[in-house]
């Protein structure tokens, strides 16, 4: 092969992992959650650990669960429990909000598949 051919081959080999990496980064899988309580600054939690986070809202405690790369609200001091009934969330750009308790959970990543979720 000529030197130019070798170069093209090297470039192609370089592009394969790079393209794969970019595809993964654009997959919209969340990397972290951001919990906002009232007017307090948001706090970021990674999702690699399985854990439950208890935060104190206007009405009382809300409990957020992170498991297997997904997040949900499992307990809330509001009556409606709509935030709990909305179930698991896994796409970056999505939110779980308990308005009465003023607790918001935002799913974030470096490269989001969606810039926002409409509902």
């Amino acid at each position: 092969m000529k030197p130019g051919d070798w170069l093209i081959l090297c470039l192609a080999l370089l592009l394969v992992p790079l393209s794969w990496s970019m595809t993964q980064r654009n997959s919209g899988v969340m990397a972290a959650i951001e919990i906002t309580v009232g007017d307090q600054p948001a706090v970021v939690y990674p999702i690699k650990d399985q854990r439950q986070i208890t935060v104190a809202g206007d009405l009382g405690d809300s409990v957020v669960e992170i498991r297997d790369g997904r997040v949900r609200m499992i307990s809330s001091s509001c009556n409606g429990k709509i935030c709990i009934l909305s179930g698991w969330h896994q796409h970056s750009g999505d939110n779980i909000v308990c308005l009465p308790n003023k607790v918001g959970v935002s799913l974030i990543s470096n490269q989001e598949r969606f810039d926002g979720i409409n509902f």
Binding site: K2, P3, G4, W6, L7, I8, L11, L14, L15, L18, S21, M22, R25, G28, E34, T36, G38, D39, A42, C78, N79, G80, I82, L85, S86, G87, Q90, H91, G93, D94, N95, V97, L99, P100, K102, G104, S106, N110, Q111, R113, F114, D115, G116, I117, N118, F119
Partner: protein, 346 residues
């Protein structure tokens, strides 16, 4: 040394790829305002301008939330009280424009978007934070007997007069859309070219995210992830009215917050309606009106209201959409819902 001839091209390609991987100048802000969680994304090099714009918007949203609140004492409740006197009065300028627009859209919607049925919404409990039980049939019948509509408001310049003592403004089906559209305009006036406002799941965007348009996922009403996605063209809003947003369950039956002014009960044929339009206020009001109109009657109403990009999910889980919406929306792979494309809105 022929490889040297390739070197600039290789470096150029690699540089372009690596640049594409870098995070854009995307600034993100989030706050509870306007009774919901609001997220603002601004793309641009001037971070201080973005900070200033977001801070201004949050203050503005909060002020409007107080001014337009349907039941907490403020400008709107004062206006409702004055309308109920059935005498002419000079309206506060902070509510006048929105009332004028609400009347216009209510007429376009044949009254299905009704901005003056605050008393009906109130008895259902959706003006408090936690509704628990449905009102009795007697209460609903009594309210329906003299139910006001937007035509009961006379408008003469900045003066208003009511014609129905039951008039009570509740602009919940338009206020957020109007506020978000106005917010977008304010950012544009500040020189911001690329921004996205997400107000509790309703969004308006200008410009783009960088190398691509703003990309919005539409949540599956069943609660199972995303059902579709859409890329916003320049200056567009996407609004959805859904029966899952606010509701309560009583004796095994679910009651949601979108009340049909013709029956006094929650509209029960549809799960969600998504409208794409440049005007957030219109998209907001239209999504409510088309939800109430239901699967059989929404098309003439959509045409009358001037919205052409509509997606409706009915109680059977069927996805009904206009041909123009079909061109814009991308259903998620593996969608099992039946898809029906309506006739063009001629």
């Amino acid at each position: 040394m022929s490889c040297c001839r390739w070197l600039p091209a290789v470096l150029l390609i690699l540089t372009a790829l690596l640049t594409a991987c870098e995070k854009q100048n995307l600034h993100r802000y989030q706050s509870f305002a306007f009774g919901t969680l609001i997220e603002i994304k601004i793309r641009g090099d001037d971070k201080s301008l973005a900070n200033q714009a977001a801070a201004n918007l949050f203050v503005d949203f909060d002020r409007r939330h107080n001014d337009w609140h349907a039941w907490q004492p403020g400008k709107l409740t004062q206006t409702s009280a004055l309308l109920a006197t059935e005498e002419w009065f000079t309206a506060d300028e902070t509510v006048l424009a929105l009332i004028k627009l609400s009347k216009q859209y209510s007429q376009l919607s044949s009254g299905l978007f009704n901005p003056v049925i605050g008393k009906l919404i109130q008895v259902w409990g959706f003006q408090g934070s936690e509704p628990l039980t449905p009102p009795s049939q007697e209460i609903i019948a009594r309210l329906l007997d003299k139910l006001p509509n937007a035509d009961d408001i006379d408008i003469d310049g900045n003066r208003l007069r009511g014609h129905n003592s039951q008039l009570q403004l509740d602009l919940g089906a338009i206020a957020k859309g109007y506020a978000v559209s106005t917010g977008i305009q304010k950012m544009r006036d500040l020189g911001i070219k690329h921004a996205l406002i997400n107000a509790g799941g309703d969004l308006c965007g200008i410009g783009n995210q960088g190398e691509r348009p703003w990309r919005i996922g539409i949540r599956n009403p069943s609660g199972n992830g995303i059902i579709a996605s859409i890329e916003l063209e320049k200056d567009e809003c996407v609004f959805t009215s859904g029966d899952y947003e606010r509701y309560f369950t009583h004796e095994g039956k679910r009651y949601h917050h979108i009340i049909d002014p013709r029956t006094g009960y929650p509209a029960d044929q549809v799960v969600s309606v998504t409208v794409l339009h440049k005007n957030g206020a219109l998209a907001d009001a239209a999504s409510t009106a088309l939800f109430i109109a239901g699967p059989d009657d929404w098309q003439p109403l959509a045409k009358k209201m001037g919205v052409s990009d509509v997606m409706m999910i009915d109680k059977q889980g069927r996805i009904i959409m206009t041909p123009s919406m079909q061109k814009r929306i991308k259903l998620e792979p593996g969608n099992k819902n039946k898809v029906i494309i309506s006739k063009p809105l001629t």
